[in-house]
């Protein structure tokens, strides 16, 4: 059943959620919006287009502690860090970012060994998806539409939210979401008109215009494979790339990590931290051999990983078209223009 509340009451809604667990929601920061653990219900702000950093950190934090140990003491005294999670509410996630969770699920908990941290954090969370505003044009660098993700796609959310003027319409998508909504007494039932508006909105969202509209994903994988050895092509498109890690760190679908032992005064923590295929030491072996040293190799890895390898391995592109990589690239490299060019090559 569709529920509703008003934007004015957002702090109350937030406060309710905070009573039940941890609330993560967009907050205005100096550099733009970002998800934060909400301490003050009034901070929650839905007047954003999308967040600077993707919400992947909610499930795959940049730093995850595995074990605490003491050097000089036996391994038997090392203590695994247990995750004691409260229920978590991830509030106001755009459909493309929601989609990224389902893609990452395949990697972290859907195939091979299960990553317990990802899985536990996922299980503890309820996701409030939040449709884009269809009357606002997409930002130039976004292209999720191309990848079959609607601007108001509720898939993957537990609760999906659409804004209608000063109102916020909420619908339970999963049983978990539905149950939660019924508990939230401050929500009222929506009218039939609103229900219709909601359904139409979702359909309308599928046709929402973004920059690229012509590609079918399967071809991308094949085509990239074909031109793998065309280093001239890769050199050309990577000419400006700095091989920094911005595009990977802001990407909701980049999952590479490193495991580090960080010790101080013989107290240490083994933890995982984000890593990036753009970094020098990513593939550097102890012998000094490094299979990927040149910028073009690194950028090729990144692009092929997302649009080709990932498709071969998991059957889905590892990109949701959020456009963060392009937007934040210091030299304005547009990953999708490269894919587009590859298709022409």
């Amino acid at each position: 059943m569709l529920k509703k509340t008003t934007i004015d009451k957002l702090p109350d809604l937030a406060a309710h959620l905070m009573e039940q667990g941890t609330l993560l929601a967009p907050v205005q920061e100096a550099a733009g919006f970002n998800f934060q653990v909400i301490a003050d219900a009034k901070q929650v702000d839905l007047n954003f287009h999308n967040t600077v950093l993707s919400p992947k950190a909610a499930f795959f934090p940049q730093m995850e502690d595995f074990v605490r140990y003491q050097t000089g003491k036996s391994i038997l005294e090392a203590v695994p860090v247990e995750l004691n999670l409260k229920p978590t509410f991830l509030f106001g996630v755009r459909p493309c970012d929601v989609k990224s969770f389902t893609i990452m699920d395949i990697h972290f908990s859907g195939t091979g060994l299960v990553d317990p941290y990802w899985q536990k954090r996922r299980q503890a969370a309820t996701i409030f998806g939040y449709a884009f505003d269809l009357d606002q044009p997409a930002q130039a660098e976004e292209f999720y539409k191309t990848l079959g993700i609607g601007a108001a796609d509720p898939d993957g959310s537990d609760v999906f939210m659409i804004r209608k003027g000063g109102d916020l319409l909420l619908k339970g998508v999963t049983l978990k979401g539905e149950k939660l909504l019924t508990q939230l007494s401050l929500l009222t039932a929506a009218s039939a008109d609103e229900e219709k508006y909601f359904e139409d909105y979702i359909i309308r969202g599928r046709d929402f215009k973004t920059r690229f509209t012509f590609l079918a994903d399967k071809n991308i994988a094949k085509k990239l494979e074909d031109i793998f050895h065309d280093s001239d092509f890769w050199m050309k498109v990577s000419g400006a790339c700095l091989s920094c890690g911005v595009c990977t760190f802001v990407c909701p679908n980049c999952y590479c990590f490193d495991i580090c032992d960080e010790t101080l005064f013989s107290q240490g923590i083994r933890r995982r931290v984000w890593d990036a295929c753009m970094f020098t030491d990513f593939t550097l072996e102890a012998s000094g051999h490094n299979p990927r040293t040149q910028v073009f190799q690194k950028l090729r890895q990144k692009i092929k990983h997302k649009y080709s390898y990932h498709v071969r391995k998991y059957g889905v592109i590892s990109c949701v078209g959020c456009g963060r990589c392009t937007k934040h690239c210091p030299v304005n490299i547009d990953i999708f223009s490269i894919v587009e060019e590859a298709m022409k090559a």
């Binding site: 695994p80 536990k120 999952y255 593939t283 299979p291 990983h305 390898y309 990932h310 391995k313």
Partner: protein
């Protein structure tokens, strides 16, 4: 969480250390489990590897050198890595003594395809210290319970100098057996060396095993692999019947951390064992 957590190592104790070579930088570590359940869970086959873990230093993926037929312990043959700046984990390991306790995560990766090898004649080609998982395979096949499952076994093993050959005692023992043919070669012998001299690819060509019902299992330094593969290909071995094992920098060992891919394959979880046919599908450049 920890019991099912693939990132948390099991505690093991170093019960024996063997210095393998005269340069002192390759040692075999025999590890015994400190928890009996861990030992039970640690079911592996030749060709798999594990992450050796030392808190404060890190982890290093190392191929399992012992055979699952050897009960009560697992063995790893480790080279001290890094020429100028020593490798963190391997150097620390080399500084350890028996009784030292470390961590172990695994078994990881795919083994040599044992079922596929059954009933076949097997040529094992090893070079340098990359002989470790081959040793595991040989000992596995030679075990009385298993020997009958496999056809003829030929081992061709080469090292730069006699001092750099691993598992010298075992090599000698195999040499005396009837059910395995062992050919040892060194690039350059010394005064005491009475065996064969010459590079592995050349020896392979000379021995020229017929491809009939045969599988070649090859492990060694990249340069050796590069020249040995064509030899077998020319001898008429099917690409599917030439097997090798790859190495790439890795961290998690379970296909999550994203760094050891060659094309769409992860060396840790899809490999490290690949057939030549599979490799040819992958890009030659990374």
């Amino acid at each position: 969480m920890s019991s099912n957590n693939p990132y948390i190592p099991m505690p093991v104790e170093i019960s024996n250390i063997t210095n393998e070579v005269d340069t002192n930088d390759i040692k075999t570590f025999r590890l015994t489990f400190l928890n009996k359940e861990d030992e039970k869970k640690f079911k592996y086959l030749p060709g798999q590897f594990a992450e050796l873990s030392i808190y404060g230093k890190g982890e290093a993926p190392i191929g399992i050198a012992s055979s699952p037929t050897e009960k009560g312990y697992v063995e790893f043959t480790v080279q001290r890595a890094g020429t100028i700046v020593p490798g963190l984990v391997t150097a620390a390991l080399h500084n350890m003594e028996t009784g030292g306790k470390i961590g172990l995560r695994g078994p990881l990766g795919h083994p040599w395809p044992i079922e596929f090898l059954e009933k076949k004649n097997i040529v094992i080609v090893g070079g340098g210290f990359a002989f470790t998982t081959l040793r595991s395979l040989i000992n596995y096949m030679l075990h009385p319970d298993n020997r009958s499952r496999f056809g003829r076994i030929t081992v061709i093993y080469g090292a730069r100098t006699p001092g750099l050959l691993l598992y010298k005692d075992e090599l000698a023992a195999w040499g005396k057996r009837e059910d395995i043919k062992t050919i040892i070669t060194v690039d350059k012998g010394d005064e005491t060396w009475t065996g064969r001299e010459g590079f592995v690819p050349a020896v392979c060509k000379e021995v020229a095993p017929s491809p009939y019902n045969k599988v070649a299992v090859i492990c060694g330094p990249p340069i050796m692999i590069k020249f040995t593969l064509p030899v077998f290909f020319d001898l008429g071995f099917y690409k599917e019947n030439i097997l090798t094992s790859l190495e790439m920098r890795m961290k998690c060992g379970i296909g999550k951390c994203g760094r050891c891919n060659v094309g769409y394959k992860y060396v840790c979880s899809d490999g490290p064992v690949f057939s030549l046919a599979e490799l040819e599908e992958l890009p030659r450049d990374f």
